[in-house]
Symmetry: C2
Subunit: 301 residues, 2 copies
């Protein structure tokens, strides 16, 4: 990893993230949402973060020639879904986390009932945003893209992964295979579909979509391994939550199963796979996707 200079990709990610941020900041304005509920939704939506999922969608759609302005509502919907999942995961009945990104979690701030509804609202509004690209993007591409996102976010994807995570917590017989499968649903599916949906909306060929899917799966896996490593070695300021919280909650992690060095090797292999899948593609968007793959694991070194 010594040879990777993270500075340019980090700058490009910040820049792309700021455009997403600007869209998110006005996405719910003018809608007739009860004021207190809107406040709770925007509290979590605007709590920062790198906006990785929208940036991935924007970048893969640009790779296949789509105007980023046209894709922005759909791309931003992925951040709505990510945010809702964080709010529900933090609930007392789930991970019972009081802090998120260094601030009180949604239910600590607004109470449990409103936090559940803020999550429900963000999830549903995501589909309003996705459907809103009708008119700017060819109609026959939209429903398949929405369908892929719904599968990835749903009970056979992210929601299913959270269910498995809860079931595995406190158990001492979780295998590496179990862990990988759980994370492929819980975090991998949404990261993967962020890449895939951009390609679908841009009219990429089935072969191209499958390469982008494999790229997304690989960086999704790398992302989670790095997250587990950071939970063990990171500092609280970067994480926005206490270091070692996984262990405290009785969660199995990659480092707890494999140790830090083997976990890093595994993440590195996933990034190699991601880069191989991008081999046929050139230009600034492909280079950015390559840089993002390397940047994801860079934090864990």
């Amino acid at each position: 990893m010594a040879e990777f200079d993270a500075t340019p990709v980090k700058a490009a990610l910040v820049e792309a993230g700021q455009e997403v941020e600007a869209f998110l900041g006005q996405a719910l304005k003018g809608r007739h949402i009860p004021c207190e509920l809107l406040t709770a939704m925007e509290y979590s939506l605007m709590a920062g973060g790198k906006r990785l999922r929208p940036v991935l969608c924007l970048t893969t759609s640009a790779l296949f020639g789509l105007d980023q302005h046209d894709v922005m509502p759909f791309a931003s919907a992925l951040e709505f879904i990510h945010t809702y999942s964080l709010i529900h995961d933090d609930l007392p009945a789930m991970d019972d986390d009081d802090l998120r990104r260094g601030k009180p979690s949604n239910h600590k701030k607004f109470g449990e009932a409103r936090a559940i509804l803020a999550g429900d609202g963000l999830l549903t509004e995501a589909f309003t945003l996705m459907a809103s690209v009708a008119g700017t993007i060819p109609a026959e591409r939209i429903a398949p893209a929405i369908g892929e996102v719904a599968v990835a976010a749903g009970a056979a994807g992210m929601v299913g992964g959270q269910d498995l995570d809860m079931a595995y917590t406190g158990r001492d017989n979780v295998s590496l295979e179990d862990l990988r499968y759980m994370h492929s649903l819980k975090t991998g599916a949404l990261i993967t579909v962020s890449c895939v949906s951009g390609a679908l909306l841009a009219g990429a060929s089935p072969e191209e979509v499958e390469r982008i899917r494999a790229y997304g799966k690989a960086i999704g896996a790398a992302f989670q391994i790095v997250d587990d490593i950071l939970d063990e070695i990171g500092d609280e300021a970067t994480l926005g939550k206490p270091v070692g919280s996984d262990q405290e909650q009785g969660k199995v992690t990659y480092p707890s199963l494999l140790g830090l060095d083997t976990s890093r090797e595994l993440a590195s292999k996933e990034v190699d796979t991601a880069l191989e899948q991008l081999a046929p593609f050139s230009g600034p968007h492909a280079d950015f996707l390559r840089g993002l793959a390397q940047y994801i694991i860079h934090r864990a070194w």
Copy 2:
């Protein structure tokens, strides 16, 4: 109301509901959903009910010439959304209801964490189902229909209505206008969009869609007034929950604001409005919609 014979419309509703039931029973088969989560989702999905929302969608789409088989996945998605809303509304942090349709509510049976996830899963799978009609229904109609459903189900619709309901509970200064607005979001929006989405998918003209929307709004309003009346006068077996539970929870209702007689008059006026909107339409599907409007309030007499 004396002259209305509910028998034929009730029989037609039961028959249509059984077709929905058959679809719902196999809708999640073969999907890679973790088994315990799937069990919790199907527990509530298959707990009975008249399947009114899918039947409305199927009937308005048939009114404008669409094959019911083609619309079934989309129509059934409305029952997924309705079911998720019941699971989340019953949670301890919300209405804290132990019973639903005479059986333990989802969280009483499966625990709070899994009930939250079962709701999240059903909501998200609804959009998988809606997107799945691509290929059988013209592409340009699908995203607008999905968008309408998402708005109706979301923070400016059903979720917002539940938030207002929570905020109003225990307050003694809720006006009739407040109550109507809250219910127009909480129950009205999904009933309305059940009608509207069927018309949109069938390619109805904007004028036709607006008539169907006005019909849906009127029966949605009538439906809620009747629900409030039944909570006061109904028997526990029909309701599947204790009579008088609204009052016990400190909820304002139509009878508590207006008395029973005026509440019935109000419901009756809504049904008149619904019937007026259907005046230009003829044939068995229009007749069924007329019958449904009358059937809804028939229960409260």
